[in-house]
């Protein structure tokens, strides 16, 4: 349901480091889908890394500072009240920083000290709302709005919706979730399912929506990651999916990378395609495979979508 049609029409856009590298297809498809839907993205000026999954293991408060700086620029230098982050990692870290600054005075002290020394205004909890690309489309356009705009229905495309870890866990940093009808669920998330169903896709009953792909150790403990990814790919295929829709560059590149690794190293071949949910929405909105960046994926899905009449 479009609960925030006006507020989300123009939001601060925080792409993050991955979307400028391996996740570029997500960056491209998010932007073109926003444009096609008449939504305005204003990139956060001179942003920095949110700390990803690594800086917190060195020191969690440094991570809180890094994320707070992004929100501070959006609020204090750009006058924005909403930050949209398509990357699960960025989204998670901004939400975590928001929670910590609201509930932990020590985090506030460290952030204030570092912000002053770095020479920018200290972010104050509540200055911005951080939302995911799913919230952005779901709450501004909604399923109804999307249905009206679909030009090439995804009918006949069997999709497993994969949300990963950072979008729903831990629960306490997402106070707006699990609030009944219309809100997202942390145990059985459905925003991506809702949007893709509105675009005509056939969502399969996928049991591993919030399973872990081992993204944190994709290179440092590759065998574990390959096992976890293979589990996800096999479960999707067993559920009848032809495509896994993703919403996170770490999950997405993890699935792609370990699909290849499982094949090369363990002889376990899977054929399910891995695409960003924004790429699927873009195709449904009548954009070309090139416009949504299908050619930038490692997982080659162009032929598949051509056969479905979508490319």
């Amino acid at each position: 349901m479009a609960t925030n049609p006006e507020k989300y029409k123009r939001v601060a856009y925080y792409p993050g480091c991955a979307l400028e590298g391996t996740g570029h297809a997500y960056n491209r498809s998010t932007k073109v889908v926003g444009k096609a839907l008449g939504l305005d993205l204003v990139e956060v000026k001179n942003w920095n890394c949110c700390g990803a999954m690594e800086v917190k293991n060195i020191d969690p408060k440094i991570q809180t500072y890094l994320s707070s700086r992004v929100m501070s620029i959006a609020a204090n230098e750009m006058g924005m009240d909403t930050v949209m982050a398509p990357c699960n990692g960025c989204y998670h870290n901004l939400k975590k920083a928001e929670y910590d600054l609201k509930h932990d005075p020590k985090s506030g002290e460290v952030v204030d000290r570092l912000s002053k020394k770095a020479g920018h205004a200290t972010y104050q909890a509540g200055q911005v709302d951080t939302i995911h690309a799913l919230d952005w489309i779901k709450d501004s356009i909604g399923e109804e709005g999307l249905r009206e705009r679909v030009r090439n229905s995804l009918a006949g495309v069997k999709v497993a919706n994969y949300y990963g870890c950072m979008y729903t866990r831990p629960r306490h940093i997402f106070p707006e979730k699990d609030q009944g009808e219309g809100s997202e669920s942390t145990s059985k998330p459905h925003f991506m399912d809702d949007l893709l169903a509105a675009a005509g896709a056939e969502n399969v009953d996928f049991p591993l929506k919030t399973a872990c792909c081992g993204g944190a150790h994709t290179l440092s403990d590759s065998d574990t990651s390959t096992k976890l990814v293979l589990n996800i790919l096999n479960a999707a295929e067993a559920a009848g999916a032809e495509v896994i829709a993703t919403e996170c560059p770490t999950c997405h590149s993890g699935l792609e990378m370990h699909q290849v690794r499982a094949e090369k190293k363990f002889g376990k071949r899977t054929s399910v395609k891995i695409v960003y949910f924004t790429q699927l929405l873009g195709l449904a909105l009548g954009l070309s495979p090139r416009q949504v960046g299908l050619h930038e994926n490692v997982s080659d899905s162009i032929g598949f979508f051509k056969a479905k009449g979508l490319a």
């Binding site: 890394c49 020394k117 629960r171």
Partner: protein
């Protein structure tokens, strides 16, 4: 959900007898195994405080051993020896030598946060895993794990420049851990990536790996973060008594103590 922790009885604590008669009853054979009795006397009474002093370990004392963490654990599902509930128990009991038997796998926590989601006492077991892995390295029980090397390479670049560039991270990490970049699956990845990639994006990515991206005017933030990180490092060493340990070791070795 049932709790299935098969790993607690370790193979070396089991005994199988081919011929054993007790009180006139033949108890030999595989079915009649005995768990070796033992008494624990080497407690480290400070273990909980030491791990509690490191980031992530702050709430380890809250645990009441329900087992939800192990039950929901992603890594436990593929390796039953990976058992957060048991490790938290050992930490709280001060059973350091028992904990050290699993020292080489604790770093493998993938931070999926299923445990933290399931925990009814807000222990944040994911944080405890990270604090414990950190503690093992600080105390010299384990070398730096591949994961810590990755975290350091990554964080080093973030603190230095404000942003990261993936190519450099991968190169830096592989170099540090002595792995070749030319592994067959990585070559295959590269091939598939290049298959359809447009020249424009390729050029951009190539340029980014040559001239790493940087947040403008980052140097003041960089210096402030470094200063804070050094303070924290010294603070953790103090909490674990590492400087005193080093001093004692020196004195015992007969070296002159530093004033």
């Amino acid at each position: 959900m049932p709790i299935h922790e098969q790993s607690l009885i370790r193979p070396e604590n089991l005994k199988t007898h081919d011929e054993l008669v007790m009180d006139g009853v033949d108890v030999s054979g595989h079915w009649s195994t005995f768990i070796e009795t033992r008494a624990v006397s080497d407690y480290n009474e400070n273990l909980q405080d030491e791990i509690g002093s490191l980031p992530g370990g702050e709430y380890v004392h809250r645990c009441w051993q329900c087992g939800s963490c192990t039950n929901s654990c992603t890594v436990n599902a593929i390796n039953p020896d990976f058992n957060p509930r048991y490790w938290i128990y050992l930490i709280r009991m001060g059973m350091e030598s028992e904990l050290l038997r699993d020292k080489d796998i604790i770093w493998q926590c993938v931070s999926c946060n299923k445990c933290t989601y399931a925990c009814p006492r807000d222990v944040v077991p994911e944080g405890v895993m990270k604090a414990t892995a950190h503690w093992l390295e600080l105390k010299g029980h384990t070398p730096k794990s591949p994961s810590m090397h990755f975290d350091e390479v990554f964080s080093g670049q973030v603190i230095e420049r404000g942003k990261i560039e993936e190519g450099r991270i991968i190169q830096g990490f592989f170099k540090r851990t002595g792995q070749p970049l030319m592994q067959d699956w990585l070559i295959e990845m590269g091939k598939r990536m290049l298959r359809n990639l447009p020249v424009g994006l390729l050029t951009r990515m190539g340029l980014a790996s040559l001239v790493a991206p940087k947040t403008e005017g980052w140097s003041r933030a960089r210096d402030a973060i470094r200063e804070y990180a050094e303070e924290q490092h010294a603070h953790h060493r103090r909490a674990l008594g590492l400087d005193e340990l080093a001093e004692t070791a020196k004195q015992e070795a007969g070296a002159p103590a530093r004033s």
